[in-house]
Symmetry: C2
Subunit: 344 residues, 2 copies
């Protein structure tokens, strides 16, 4: 039986940019008993609700036997409201820019629809990590823990510039037609350019040097580039990709009132126990950014818990058994600490 | 008075791939007295003969008052024979693949035309570094020193994948027309994609975080991206760019007889004193590759002398006064050591 993905209508929903919507929705999958402690896991860039980037399942710490786990698709990601599935006036290239704060505002509606008054945890990988941070800043008292992997609380200038590559590779394809392409004439060379301009960033140089793509089942480097990157990105909608890039590039948890860009103040607002899990070999969401964020948080709030891995950015995406186990063990320890405190 | 660039006809010149040419040439500039110890400096990717990537001049260690300095343009780089300036049958997209060994074979003809029997040094930045290594492997007894900066002796898998980004961004532009574009209709969006897909790699994340592009005179990040990258790459010929990428991606000093890919054997063949100067924050020609190469060389041949810098790849390109001084001092010390030995 295919896992059940459900649709939550957002009703009247106004974006930070002022655009009013009435027919937008989030797609999600809920696992476990809704009376259990609730864990929210937003999608990553290019991921889907059923992606197993964060380890979820009976064999993991985040098990539906113990937690009510909501896997939710980001706006723009192709499942929830996105350029590719939205009607006029916000269809295709007219889809408005989505801020991290919009993602979280929408997700809060979904979460509250279950009667949840406080999330036990928000956890996510990459852009899912950014959303986890955003939750803790935007609704500090609503979140008990955040566990962002391979992410940070804002897009660094270097990260911004990296994203200019894939974005402009896609825009180079004349068939993109300012986003007015048709399904029968998509900018496939632009999508390939996007994929290849991304590919060097996704894993570490050591991972490449050791030909670790073979562990993922690819026979050589080109086979990996074609099947993992070209086909993966090629399956996505170009306008959706650009919407996600926009959310990512503008991502900064302090870009909401009352912080207005005061990043330190935003970090100080976090009340959730924050287990910060960047990868030591991530080339764009660098570990040092997470270390710095913990220093900015109030004492005892953040814990810097890097994934020591050669899997680069993908270390935070259950890409290999060792890093997956590290996530499971780290989160189990975090939750046990909190449970002990709550009992005391 | 504009510096004088001269043209050296290669005469009958056969490429490793078997293509025979009769009208190819190298462009170069020679500084100083041809009786002085000779230093060869090939261009880097995207550079020109007059680029000041390696510090050359009276205020530097490599001064024309002491050395005969030959600044030579790579085949494919737009000055020496390249897709953009070659006649049929090798014009434009029909320009044959150029190996590092072809570059060095051509340069040897030029060098010998001056009656030079041994080069005092070959030094270069990035692809210029690759050519320096190639010299030492291909003609071991012809080279006294090599000083490669921000480069290595082969293109790593990670480096190869990085280059897939800019390349495929350019190929995404339909106006590239398999290289048959005309001067009035160039793939300018593809060139912009190439530039942006390269931009994140050129400097370190710390450099970006500290907004060091302002030191280069740019007012903000976008100003830097437009003027440094878009305009820099935009001025180049698309087929030339792809020719250089091909030389780079296939670059491996052991890809010639008798090594046939035996990288260690090629490193062991080096007789030149090799001062290996990668940048500690280079994201694609990683410092660790240079450290490893020195370990593979015969004892006493190589010295690992990394540029400790936040300027990333550009640290080896005289991008800032501190790293430039480090080059000058390091090379002066190297030469003094050799001079002392030769006198002893």
């Amino acid at each position: 039986m295919a896992p059940k993905v459900e649709r939550f209508p957002l009703g009247e929903f106004t974006l930070l940019g002022g655009q009013k919507t009435t027919d937008w929705f989030l797609e999600y999958r809920a696992l476990g008993n809704s009376q259990s402690p609730a864990v929210l896991k937003p999608t990553c860039f290019g991921g889907s609700i059923l992606s197993n980037d964060i380890p979820v399942g009976e064999e993991h710490t985040l098990t539906p036997t113990k937690y009510f786990i909501i896997l939710v698709g980001m706006l723009g990601g192709g499942e929830s409201s996105s350029p590719s599935n939205t009607k006029a006036p916000y269809d295709g290239p007219r889809f408005p820019p989505i801020m991290l704060a919009d993602q979280v505002a929408a997700q809060k509606k979904l979460v509250e629809s279950f009667g949840i008054q406080k999330l036990w945890a928000v956890t996510g990988y990459s852009m899912g990590a950014m959303q986890s941070y955003q939750w803790a800043v935007q609704f500090p008292s609503f979140v008990q823990h955040i566990i962002p992997t391979s992410g940070s609380a804002r897009c660094s200038p270097h990260n911004h510039v990296f994203l200019e590559g894939p974005k402009n590779a896609l825009l180079a394809d004349g068939r993109f037609k300012n986003g007015e392409y048709t399904k029968n004439d998509i900018p496939d060379l632009g999508l390939k350019g996007f994929a290849r301009a991304y590919s060097g960033w996704g894993f570490s140089s050591t991972w490449y040097r050791e030909h670790r793509y073979k562990e993922l089942g690819f026979k050589d480097l080109e086979d990996y580039l074609v099947k993992y990157w070209d086909e993966g990105i090629g399956a996505m909608d170009p306008n959706d990709l650009l919407s996600l890039v926009k959310t990512w590039q503008t991502g900064d948890v302090s870009n909401i009132p009352p912080y207005h860009g005061d990043f330190k103040a935003a970090m100080q607002a976090i009340e959730a126990r924050a287990l910060i899990m960047p990868s030591t070999t991530d080339q764009y969401f660098e570990a040092i950014a997470g270390e710095y964020e913990v220093l900015l948080m109030k004492p005892g709030v953040g814990k810097y818990n890097p994934i020591i891995s050669i899997w680069g950015h993908q270390a935070g995406a259950s890409s290999n058994p060792i890093d997956t186990k590290f996530y499971d063990d780290s989160v189990a320890e975090l939750f046990a600490e909190t449970e002990a405190k709550l009992k005391a």
